[in-house]
């Protein structure tokens, strides 16, 4: 129960080495220049990282959710931008097709993503529908054999580099007059689709974030994903899985904060002593270490439940909420322990704080996680 399998440990070691040797040297530049590291994604694809939680027959590596969480943590530990784009690609771009797609959709869309040859996005958020996804305004209207989609999406990760975007849209009304929301697979070369990434972000600056305008975008009827009546349920399930990956990213950033702060505290001398000898600093480090460990335990539990095909909605929300808030607190304390140096880009901890902030917003804000938990409690 409290031990990783040999494969999980091998994956951890491999991804850590890759992250430290290949990504870490570029992490400051990726953030500073806000440039999506395409070449790193190519290598991650070749190593099979994009296909961890998918079966071999769909181009995956037959790994489990825990292995995937471990990989996200290790990437996030060195670079939040790369970690976010990685997590979004697997959990939001590829997973819905694996869960809900037809055999043909899996062949066409999932295989290249799992093999790392194509990236994917998930477009849910709209200018007027963020936390309240039910307020989706994008519409898809059936015209013969084609859906015609019109609307606007914002803040969509990886869209400028994606081959396909899964777009949520209103496709009709149910008996009670409520909107039916479905998901449709839209290849990014479809006419009428405009993708622009002009956001100047606080953090995760190297992760591509784009705005999407859909103007009479026509896709074949077969591109509708899963059950036409259950689109909303489907993306709630998708987001539950995505939350595990964002929790993993939080654990990675928190772990990095702890490591940097501890190393610095041992090195730095003030008042004739290593600052790690001061109780005020020790207590900060103790809290950080404890919280990282607790967050990781919750993360593994949520991932384990998912692997065992047990309900994991509540646990994924716990993990996401606690791990991302831990990441923010740890990064903040890491800066504090670094004093004035921590405020400088070169020491990296200030980037951890900026990157961690996104984790408290994306894939359901901290408030939304508390709403999910409350609903699970029966409130």
């Amino acid at each position: 129960m409290f031990d990783l399998t040999r494969e999980q440990r091998m994956i951890q070691k491999m991804v850590r080495e890759f992250a430290e040797e290949v990504i870490q040297p570029e992490a400051i530049m990726i953030d500073k220049e806000a440039k999506f590291p395409e070449h790193i994604f190519k290598q991650m694809g070749e190593l099979g990282l994009m296909g961890i939680p998918f079966p071999e027959k769909y181009g995956g590596s037959d790994g489990d959710t825990i292995s995937y969480a471990i990989a996200v943590e290790e990437i996030g530990r060195v670079c939040g931008s790369t970690g976010l784009s990685y997590a979004a690609n697997v959990s939001l771009g590829a997973s819905p097709i694996y869960y809900f797609g037809t055999e043909e959709q899996k062949e066409t869309y999932l295989v290249p993503m799992a093999e790392g040859k194509a990236l994917g996005s998930f477009g849910l958020t709209e200018p007027n529908a963020g936390s309240d996804a039910g307020g989706t305004r994008t519409k898809a209207v059936l015209d013969g054999d084609m859906y015609v989609i019109n609307g606007e999406k914002c803040f969509i990760t990886n869209a400028s580099f994606a081959k396909t975007i899964i777009v949520t849209a209103v496709t009709g009304k149910d008996d009670k007059g409520k909107n039916i929301i479905s998901a449709l697979v839209v290849p990014t070369d479809t006419e009428g689709l405009t993708i622009t990434s002009n956001y100047d972000k606080m953090g995760v600056r190297g992760s591509d974030t784009a705005e999407i305008v859909l103007e009479n975008v026509r896709v074949p009827k077969e591109n509708l994903l899963g059950d036409p009546q259950k689109g909303f349920k489907q993306f709630l399930y998708t987001l539950d899985g995505g939350r595990i990956s964002i929790a993993a990213l939080g654990v990675g950033i928190a772990q990095a904060s702890l490591e940097k702060a501890l190393a610095y505290a041992k090195e730095r001398t003030q008042f004739g002593n290593s600052i790690s000898k001061f109780q005020a600093i020790q207590f900060k480090l103790s809290d950080m270490a404890m919280e990282v460990e607790l967050a990781r335990n919750m993360l593994y539990k949520a991932a384990w439940l998912k692997d065992k095909e047990k309900p994991f909605t509540k646990e994924a929300a716990y993990a996401k909420l606690f791990a991302t808030e831990t990441a923010f607190r740890s990064a903040n304390q890491a800066i504090q322990i670094h004093g004035g140096y921590g405020y400088m880009r070169e020491y990296e901890v200030e980037r951890y704080l900026r990157d961690a902030k996104l984790l408290e917003i994306g894939e359901g804000t901290s408030e939304v996680q508390r709403m999910v938990i409350a609903r699970q409690l029966g409130c």
Binding site: E7, I11, E17, D62
Partner: protein
């Protein structure tokens, strides 16, 4: 081609190492594939991919060496052999290891055996050459390039920074030097497939060896860590005085003059 790799589990010298009572503490050390052996694994896989055949990775070690063997399998080796001496041998040295390997290779038809140039723990560089002598096949150490054409093998060998070109024939044993290649990361599919690849476990009994045949030829007197590096000193004053001070420090303190 029938390719074999000699691989050793060693502690990671970049991690903290704790020595107590003249022994390295197992619990505190991180274990890895000897880095030079990684070049050997990589080269073996490349040669197999070019010429066909099979790569078998062999280690003399203990139960825990399976981890390093599985990593080599995840990189792409086909089979692994673990010769577990933990229960049979109290101690061993390069002689011991070479004797065991020689017994293992007795009935094998190896075309190419690759080993690391040295193991970073004991750094003797002897196991490969000793084994080649016992098997009566040629060996070339510290290679940085290898190409096989039929029975002929073209080798570039590192000699203190210069390159020596050597031609040899199969069967052959080589030891691998940094610069030979860039060892790959085990891929995800590789890691998942590694658990299904064959890993044979042997003991010295299975090789018709007896503890007495394997008595080490050397004695380890003591194991200790290098002295901690101290902060440098900057001398001050007139150049002439500084020189005098330096000379006296080298004489009296460092005792090198």
């Amino acid at each position: 081609m029938n390719i074999y790799v000699l691989l050793k589990k060693t502690f990671d010298t970049e991690e903290k190492i704790v020595v107590s009572d003249g022994r390295i503490e197992d619990d505190s050390a991180e274990y890895i594939i000897n880095p030079y052996d990684e070049y050997a694994v990589e080269e073996a896989i490349n040669q197999r991919d070019e010429h066909g055949g099979e790569v078998t990775v062999v280690t003399v070690g203990d139960e825990d060496s399976e981890k390093q063997l599985r990593t080599a399998l995840a990189m792409g080796a086909d089979k692994a052999v673990l010769i577990d001496t933990e229960d049979d041998l109290e101690e061993g040295d390069q002689y011991t290891t070479a004797e065991i390997l020689a017994a293992y290779f007795e009935d094998k038809e190896a075309d190419l055996i690759l080993a690391g140039n040295v193991a970073i723990d004991e750094a003797s560089g002897q196991v490969g050459p000793r084994l080649a002598e016992k098997l009566d096949i040629p060996f070339v150490t510290t290679i940085v390039d290898l190409s096989v054409d039929g029975e002929t093998v073209y080798i570039e060998k590192d000699v203190e920074g210069d390159v020596e070109k050597v031609e040899s024939t199969l069967p052959l044993l080589v030891t691998c030097q940094q610069g030979l290649n860039e060892p790959r990361y085990p891929s995800l599919p590789g890691i998942m497939k590694a658990k299904k690849k064959p890993l044979e476990e042997l003991e010295i009994d299975d090789l018709d060896l007896d503890e007495d045949d394997l008595e080490p030829k050397t004695k380890t007197i003591d194991i200790f860590l290098p002295p901690e590096k101290e902060a440098g000193r900057i001398l001050e004053g007139e150049v002439e005085d500084q020189v005098k001070e330096l000379v006296s420090l080298l004489k009296d303190e460092a005792k090198v003059l």
